[in-house]
């Protein structure tokens, strides 16, 4: 499989503070499934931010879809971001828009006519089991429902990479399993999945997934190689 993402000696520092990420190097293959794990504060969210182009690294090289993402001109960022679906840890739903409108947002941004938006949005609502909640606004939804809306929004544009930051953090085990199946089905369609999670049960559920672990801002495997299949991890 071709590499869709390549990090080489990437470092990230916020302001004048210490490096949050140091010498991070790895590659992600197109169509693969990855878990990113590590203790709180290890730098998982920072690494994901680099991946979905919310930040630029302070050093190192990032290649995304075969292009240098570090020196990518700002005006080209939107085109790249449309190829990446993101499930934020805090969902980041637009609170005054309905669940339907939140899910439809990427399609509207991409310029899809209104007449062509309804069918895929309805399909997504059904996919995440919220067909009846389309008109509800995020503040009236439970944490789990908001998370599912966030996932539906992330995948509706059929991204090439899906990045999810703790996507099962607010749902019960049954829903977590269901969401994982959603990710797997998307992965089968060719989307590269990167899920940051503490949930080892979840990691062990996906047999073909690979795992990388961050410790204090560094990939803990000194070889930089990702394990495949993931080692069973005890909670």
């Amino acid at each position: 499989m071709a590499n869709i993402v390549q990090f080489e000696n990437v470092g990230l520092r916020y302001g004048t503070g210490p490096e949050t990420l140091s010498d991070v190097s790895f590659t992600l293959a197109a169509g693969a499934f990855y878990f990113l794990t590590g203790a709180s504060g290890a730098g998982k969210t920072s690494l994901l931010k680099l991946l979905y182009l919310a930040r630029r690294p302070t050093r190192g090289v990032i290649r995304l879809f075969g292009e240098d993402a570090v020196t990518l001109p700002r005006k080209r960022l939107p085109g790249f971001r449309r190829r990446i679906g993101v499930v934020f840890q805090d969902f980041r739903l637009v609170p005054h828009l309905s669940a339907y409108d939140n899910i439809a947002l990427p399609l509207r941004i991409a310029g899809m006519p209104e007449s062509e938006i309804e069918a895929p949005v309805r399909e997504m609502l059904a996919w995440v089991g919220l067909t009846e909640r389309g008109r509800a606004k995020p503040p009236t939804l439970s944490g789990g429902e908001q998370q599912r809306i966030a996932i539906a929004r992330a995948v509706i544009g059929r991204p090439e990479i899906l990045v999810a930051d703790e996507p099962t953090g607010n749902v019960d085990p049954a829903m977590a399993e269901r969401l994982l199946h959603l990710f797997e089905s998307l992965n089968r369609l060719g989307t590269t999945i990167v899920v940051a999670t503490h949930d080892f049960h979840l990691i062990n559920r996906v047999g073909h997934a690979q795992m990388m672990r961050l410790d204090n801002g560094r990939i803990s495997d000194p070889t930089g190689l990702l394990r495949h299949p993931p080692r069973r991890v005890e909670e």
């Binding site: 971001r81 828009l97 947002l105």
Partner: protein, 295 residues
């Protein structure tokens, strides 16, 4: 691009309270602008009317104590100026009118036939150049050494200067209002960016371009300016119409020239649209500039 004028796109920026404030601010600013523009246009007409009225008008006075000599000189001047090239009209002011003018100061007793009164001749010129006035003066002097030529434009030059000052004041007010509107729009756009920072960040992460985000703001601000502008303009036009009615009742030559013509009403009615356009451009530039500083 589908973050266009659709209802969902309009809902992306949800701040009804700010909208209302912005509408009223714009209504007040455009009300003042339309009033200033109305004053300016009215003053331009008054000045033009004054210019047309005074530019070619002068009065020849024959200040001669000897009645026979005065009448002879007056007749000679009238005779020379009738049909003189460049003279449109020449007419002696009737003695009754002179008496009426003097009566408030001299009373009945002062209108004695023995009292030496100057004769006055009104002259309208088609050519109001200095050379023409000099020729008229020469003709009058030939008829009488005591003939004096007064140009009406000279008498009323302070009024004309005042009208010019009013025009400049109106222009300055309009420019000031345009600048103030631009500043309000910039402030509104920046406040909007702060208020909607989270939404904008999400839009960016979903692949929205700066222009798409800027359009959300420019459309909203243009709409608020237009709604406020229409309210302010209607109020200002009503006030202009009322003032015009009141001025007409005064019957004063210079002031009653301050009338707005149909074309002027159209110009004033176009002001809110001009401001909406200005607001749209200012919002677009401001938002794009602010977003350009983010990733």
């Amino acid at each position: 691009m589908a973050l266009g004028p659709s209802a969902p796109a309009r809902r992306l920026l949800d701040d009804n309270r700010r909208t209302l404030v912005m509408v009223w601010i714009m209504a007040i600013m455009i009300f003042l602008t339309v009033l200033a523009a109305g004053l300016g246009l009215g003053t331009v007409h008054a000045a033009t009317s004054l210019d047309n009225e005074l530019a070619g008008r002068l009065t020849v006075q024959v200040v001669e104590a000897d009645t026979a000599a005065r009448d002879a000189a007056t007749a000679a001047i009238l005779d020379r100026l009738e049909g003189f090239p460049g003279v449109k009209r020449v007419e002696q002011v009737p003695p009754e009118r002179l008496n009426a003018l003097l009566k408030p100061w001299l009373g009945e007793a002062g209108l004695d036939a023995d009292l030496p009164m100057p004769t006055m001749i009104d002259v309208d010129l088609s050519d109001a150049s200095d050379a023409m006035v000099a020729r008229i003066s020469a003709i009058a002097r030939q008829a009488s050494d005591h003939a004096v030529v007064d140009r009406h434009a000279t008498w009323l030059s302070p009024v004309r200067d005042f009208l010019t000052t009013l025009m400049l004041l109106a222009l300055a007010l309009i420019i000031l209002m345009l600048i103030a509107t631009g500043a309000v729009v910039l402030l509104a756009a920046r406040t909007g960016l702060d208020t909607h920072r989270d939404t904008i960040e999400v839009l960016h992460m979903l692949g929205s371009t700066d222009i798409q985000v800027a359009r959300l703001f420019q459309r909203r601000i243009a709409l608020e300016t237009l709604i406020g502008g229409v309210i302010g303009t209607l109020a200002a036009l009503a006030l202009c119409w009322f003032l015009q009615m009141r001025l007409a009742l005064l019957g004063s030559g210079a002031i009653s020239g301050m009338v707005l013509e149909p074309r002027d009403w159209l110009i004033l009615a176009a002001i809110p649209f001009l401001f909406a356009l200005l607001a749209m451009l200012a919002a677009r530039l401001s938002v794009q500039r602010a977003l350009g500083r983010t990733l």
